[in-house]
Symmetry: C2
Subunit: 161 residues, 2 copies
């Protein structure tokens, strides 16, 4: 598996599983009926933000984006988002992407990384981020309306770099 910068050509492989993940309404704070144009704009941002893909034998098995969480005087804290192709879960793709993006963020000069919206019921993600040094610094009670579980907590997670 290789992790590299995403190209315009990768989008055709990203969009189907990104759409599936967002439509499920279990982990992402995006409109469940997001259009391809909206999704592309949000997932393939302009510099200094950047997008990477994890590729296994020409198949995009996961993707992540990295950028400043705020602008101006708070632009030294990064934000990142991750999606693993559901057909390729449980094989360390998320961990590999997380480790890679933490290294990218340090190289880009960020001083910390913050996740604004980790769904509390997404226990695999919460456990992964904890194992990579993040902690839950706050939980918004009933912050996320889960497709099947109703209102659940939404974690804000953070770590220094």
């Amino acid at each position: 598996m290789e992790i590299r910068a995403a190209t315009d050509e990768d989008w055709a492989q990203i969009w189907p599983f990104l759409r599936e993940i967002v439509a499920a309404g279990e982990t992402y704070t995006w409109p469940r009926d997001v259009t391809e144009e909206q999704a592309r704009g949000m997932w393939m941002p302009t510099p200094p933000a950047r997008t990477v893909v994890a590729v296994d034998r020409d198949t995009v098995v996961g993707t992540a984006k990295l950028g400043p969480n705020h602008l101006g005087p708070a632009s030294h804290i990064a934000n990142a988002s991750f999606m693993v192709h559901p057909d390729h879960g449980g094989r360390g793709v998320g961990r590999a992407l997380g480790t890679h993006v933490l290294e990218l963020a340090r190289a880009d000069g960020y001083r910390a990384m913050q996740f604004n919206a980790v769904v509390a019921t997404n226990t695999a993600a919460v456990a992964l981020w904890r194992s990579l040094g993040f902690e839950v610094i706050a939980t918004l009670p009933e912050g996320f309306e889960h497709a099947t579980r109703g209102f659940v907590g939404l974690h804000i997670m953070y770590r220094k770099l």
Copy 2:
């Protein structure tokens, strides 16, 4: 003083003090050299977000914007931002805007309100939001590079509606 929906015509009065506040680099996580076009796009968003102005005898003395803090399954938590014209501070404009925006948010069906970035040294703002029922749910250490004080904390504040 009247608080009402902002119109396109109000922008000419908003922009000079908004630019001044952002350029000072003490309270806002926007680029200090924000252009008028960027600023207008960020401060005058499209529905369901909305912008209001506080007007005193035809002078815009303050402004606020209200919208969802996230999208999709987390769009029931509001975010809001406030700016008071520096020439009209200390006269209750911020409190009046805050009270008004909390009412608007309830009317719009939001279940809670979250501020993502309240600069810890902006003690007047922190005290105002506390008095209006918000609490600091997390502080990002050194989350904001203040123009004169260096790296200071950045609060996340929250209240149910």
